[in-house]
Symmetry: C2
Subunit: 440 residues, 2 copies
């Protein structure tokens, strides 16, 4: 089979951009032998043309002039690896207007402005390929769009932020405080200098918005997603939860109930220690899904990093070059919100089990007190843990787990507990998520 040469322009020459350049330059021949497509890196655009990167570009390829890429009609595909939402958006729109297909890993941009960008792509008869935007090197986007297309996805449970998973894994394994574990993640390069988007859950929400929209087939906005980060997680709660058989993960959750009502949320979640996702440690990602026909499927791998992300980007480039991405993109029917009124459950309406820790003062009536408050709100206790001995301020931590109840009830109960004299401070509350496991 004759090789087809396809010219690629790259915008953004940071870590991920360097990985993409490296794969194309060093492995181009091998990829061509397998796919029949010979990628040619025609132009690399970055404002910084001086700093030495981990890959050496052939002379004359690096430029700070985006117009060189836009004006070159022989370049069919533009790869945006700048990140962020402002300049990246302008760049993607410019690439589409210049008649190029776009490949990107930019989850923030797609989650916030995807609808506008998809519209621009359609107008220009081009496509946007975004496998790398969710869970890095794991081909989860194509799995949902193609491999599982016959399924109604009833549930999706993902560890999709490696930074948070690394921090929580270390807090659990070493008993480290959040600040210490965060600093270690930054040291290792797993967390940014400004970690807010990761630890606040925003990055996971971006990925959930993208995955949910392709799984459901309609526009999902960030407003649809409840988000709670891991910033205020204490290693005490990880330890107490551990004693009760749970492991703490930041989960991105999508659930559809029998009335087709959707719950989309990102929050710290206690999951059973023997569940598959509990064993996903360090910076790894995994997504467990439940399809109406296939049952449970799970995908595991590196969700970030230079080469895993580049792996997904180059797979997309090949898919675009073959022509398949354009077909898949054309079939990507994200129904506008105006056409369909999605039944999004607000966080108050969801049902969950809960882990609560209250700091009880050393005086009689504590158990009767929390027992009554929870009972008044129709909350049934499933487990309790109270170690002997004193904590700070002469208080003792009382840990309670509950049966299923509405978030609304729990919120009301927490307010009541916070006002009681026998407890010190506000109660800690973490949701317990019982991930269904497909059994034989």
């Amino acid at each position: 089979m004759a090789e087809k040469i396809v010219k690629v322009g790259l915008v953004g020459f940071g870590t991920v951009g360097s990985g993409v350049a490296k794969l194309i330059l060093e492995d181009g021949a091998r990829i061509a032998a397998k796919t029949g497509i010979r990628l040619q890196l025609a132009c690399v655009v970055d404002v910084d043309t001086q700093t030495q990167r981990s890959v050496n570009l052939p002379d004359g390829l690096l430029t700070d002039d985006l117009n060189r890429l836009l004006g070159d009609e022989t370049i069919e595909i533009g790869v945006e690896t700048i990140g962020g939402t402002d300049i990246a958006k302008e760049v993607q729109l410019a690439l589409l207007d210049a008649g190029k297909d776009v490949v990107t890993a930019n989850k923030a941009l797609l989650a916030e402005h995807g609808i506008e960008l998809y519209r621009a792509a359609r107008k220009n008869g081009r496509c946007i390929a975004f496998e790398a935007s969710c869970a890095g090197g794991i081909p989860i986007v194509s799995a949902i769009r193609s491999g599982l297309t016959a399924n109604k996805i009833a549930g999706m449970y993902g560890i999709v932020n490696g930074t948070c998973n690394y921090i929580l894994s270390n807090m659990a394994a070493k008993g480290e405080d959040f600040a210490v574990a965060l600093a270690a993640a930054q040291e290792k390069g797993y967390a940014e200098a400004d970690p807010a988007l990761d630890i606040g859950g925003g990055d996971s929400a971006h990925k959930l918005a993208i995955l949910a929209s392709i799984a459901l087939g309609y526009e999902i906005t960030l407003d649809d997603i409840f988000v709670e980060g891991i910033e205020s997680i204490s290693s005490d709660d990880i330890r107490y939860g551990g004693e009760m058989g749970y492991c703490l993960k930041l989960l991105a959750i999508g659930q559809m109930d029998e009335q087709n009502r959707i719950s989309l949320r990102v929050h710290p979640s206690f999951i059973a220690k023997n569940s598959a996702l509990a064993r996903v440690g360090g910076p790894f990602n995994a997504v467990s899904m439940f399809g109406s026909a296939v049952g449970q499927v799970m995908f595991y791998g590196r969700g970030a990093g230079m080469m895993p992300t580049a792996s997904a980007i180059v797979a997309d480039i090949i898919d675009v070059a073959m022509g398949n991405s354009r077909t898949t993109f054309r079939q990507l029917c994200l129904k506008p919100r105006t056409e369909i009124e999605p039944l999004i459950k607000r966080i108050d309406e969801i049902e969950s089990r809960f882990y609560i820790r209250i700091m009880a003062k050393d005086q009689p009536g504590v158990v009767a007190n929390y027992g009554k408050i929870l009972g008044d709100h129709q909350i049934s206790i499933s487990g309790a843990l109270q170690h002997e001995g004193r904590g700070p301020d002469n208080t003792v931590p009382v840990v309670i787990t509950t049966h299923i109840t509405q978030q609304r009830n729990m919120t009301a109960a927490l307010n009541d507990l916070a006002e009681e004299d026998v407890f010190s401070g506000k109660p800690v509350c973490i949701r317990i998520v019982d991930i269904p496991e497909d059994k034989d």
Copy 2:
């Protein structure tokens, strides 16, 4: 978006065929809303038109006349779910000759006659889609062909036969003998009345041949694959291996060494209990792969069964209907063996660690004896286990694990051990596979 109507003909109305019919008939509207493609089941062909199946077909759809399907030019896609290699091959060739694209789950047929069928498809300008042939509902074929296309796959370790995994899981959990566990699997419908293809490793070899050929990009034949089944596994060895930290799985293994030499094999394998694949229980499948860019990725799910297999078949039908399968199939460059001399390592040349059990007679010199024989063959012992007490015939089981050595050396040592007077019978030997785990 206007729906495109695509007519599908089904040949074979057994369990999997019924699942495909069920998905198309019951979920067609939902699939059309998501993909823009409205599948229409136009014809179902089976020699048995009488037996009641788990799905009700509209009147007039079921026929025993294949020509009704072949002669209907409006039917674009033929799905073959007969199984077996004789009639199924004739049917697939007839479908291709009649100008229809083919979708199949038939691993045995593709592993044995894939080259001939692919050639026939090309000649007719049609494609064969076979996602369902490997690991049922898990989209592993498309992951290798598309999602991981930028990667050189250095290693692939798969639990791809649910029957064997169910049997071995039960033998380990309940201490059951092989025959008892097999009967239970047959009772549950996880094993056929004639289980030879599953328990002998042949079915796993079929899947490995398909996966290895698409990962490597050239023709792999069954002769390239070393196969050993689980028929003679004793629950004693599962127990002793367990005491030494291992779990027994039937693995399909593909490895490429630094000189690009390939080892392809299916055999019972002791793997570390804390490895990800060790936790795959019951009838489930999982494949762990190592890509040059992506690192470790793992896919998990149901590898067989009516609806999981139908899920993969319908995904393929949609992909064919969209036109993507034809592109992907055209790019599937399986280089003929005449063009490339693949460097296949024979089983004698592979290196492995080993578990050995010898039944030692109750007399002095046993340790010196096996120690000398292994030492003479340059085999270094890594662990040993000998419980006090007697076994049958006044013998005692001595279990030894070794460091890495060539299979050739081990085979020679086993021959020497079998001839020694202080040991009773032939030694048991099971390979220990150290699956690399990607760590942070």
